[in-house]
Symmetry: C2
Subunit: 258 residues, 2 copies
């Protein structure tokens, strides 16, 4: 049996009601039939977390136009991708898209990102997968200027596929017309001043995550942070099953005396 | 000011009451002063997830011997490491240890593992970090035969450090006397038959994660799964901030026409 239109699985980490998800569904619909399976609640910062100790329920959301089906799951982004592939999509999707995230996933944010957790899961299932993020946390962020670039990237990946084992982390600069696309590596860095301290009405201290990313590759024109700051869309290849080269294994073996 | 003994931060993903955590505290105590900061509840499968939208509380647990302090946090493994470094340890630890996990983190389990999420976080903070896992999920698992190997690895890493940007994923074969240590790469693979389906008393379908790892590197003697099956402790270097080589960026740029 042949299929005239690609099947595209769409998910996100901001939840089924986030505007960025619906922008991505619209963008995907130009290229194929769409099944969206997203968390029922916001799941930012969930990385590749999975639900191992509780039951997952799937709920269909109605009222979408032809060629679009939307579901929510009481789980995390990776749960949505796993459950979609196992029990919701009628066949193997041709593409997995995650986003559009409300907020940047450049630099080492990819480690914590639920958006990229979902894209990684599609990649581990050997399906071309892309995570899209806009560098604006607001729920009223303007996704418009980035859409032509998203369209170009979806079209290219549907036509050519991706190298085996690699998915894409795409970040879009907010509040500007992007000037183009740069394929680069992720800026390395760390987070500083990570927690704000409070005292409860009962005198108990508590902590809330905040923090600023310190880019240790500041000024390096081969990195995503550099080009996002210059109004470019950045594409970073990401390999969930990465391994170190043999010389690293050898030096560790020597250190351990084995 | 000099310190005569190393300071070792210990955490896990099975929670503050898991026997594996306390075995690792004992193992670490032979090499330095220990501060353990672990989740108050089990957090298996939490990967590098962080708590972004709620408050974190720290609770001290008393009754430990001198040189050991134990805390729990109502969060995930990475929250424990971040909060420990920011607000609990009196100085920067010399080593971060995570585990001993009740269950294997070989193959691509590292993607989902909270044990390795915590080790990655120590590594991102530029502290030598190691995750330890035993290939036995039972809460009554016997950690004894693996302890001499854990001791060797801790001693080597305290003495020599680790290559910049790399942490270690150590897996220990259960129910045997390990024959030695192999430094190898992670077996690649995927999970199959991932969900068991049920029907609730009200007729509603629900799903529960299960699944078997299919090792696509079966028989490859350079992988962790191969040597775990042959009674060896495996050490896999893991780089949380990995990037692809330049030729991959170039081929993607050509594909996107940029």
């Amino acid at each position: 049996m042949t299929h005239t239109r690609p099947l595209i699985l769409v998910t996100n980490d901001d939840g089924v009601h986030a505007p960025g998800l619906h922008k991505l569904i619209e963008a995907a619909r130009l290229h194929g039939d769409v099944i969206a399976v997203a968390p029922d609640l916001p799941q930012s910062g969930m990385s590749s977390a999975i639900t191992v100790n509780s039951a997952l329920f799937v709920k269909e959301h109605h009222g979408y136009s032809e060629g679009i089906r939307v579901y929510s799951v009481n789980g995390k982004p990776v749960d949505c991708v796993k459950l979609a592939l196992r029990s919701i999509t009628p066949r193997r999707p041709d593409l997995v898209l995650s986003g559009i995230n409300h907020g940047s996933n450049a630099g080492n944010s990819v480690v914590y990102s639920g958006t990229m957790g979902a894209a990684s899961e599609g990649c581990l299932a050997r399906i071309p997968s892309i995570g899209f993020s806009l560098t604006d946390h607001s729920m009223t962020a303007d996704f418009g200027p980035g859409l032509p670039f998203i369209d170009t990237i979806i079209r290219s990946v549907l036509a050519s596929g991706l190298p085996d084992g690699i998915c894409l982390n795409v970040n879009i600069p907010a509040r500007c017309e992007p000037l183009g696309i740069k394929v680069v590596r992720a800026a390395r860095g760390y987070w500083t001043e990570e927690y704000k301290e409070y005292t409860s009405p009962h005198g108990q201290p508590f902590y809330w995550l905040q923090g600023d990313f310190v880019n240790i590759d500041e000024g390096d024109s081969e990195t995503d942070e550099y080009w996002l700051g210059r109004q470019y869309v950045t594409v970073v290849p990401y390999r969930p099953e990465h391994n170190e080269p043999r010389h690293v294994l050898q030096s560790l073996a020597e250190m351990l005396g084995v």
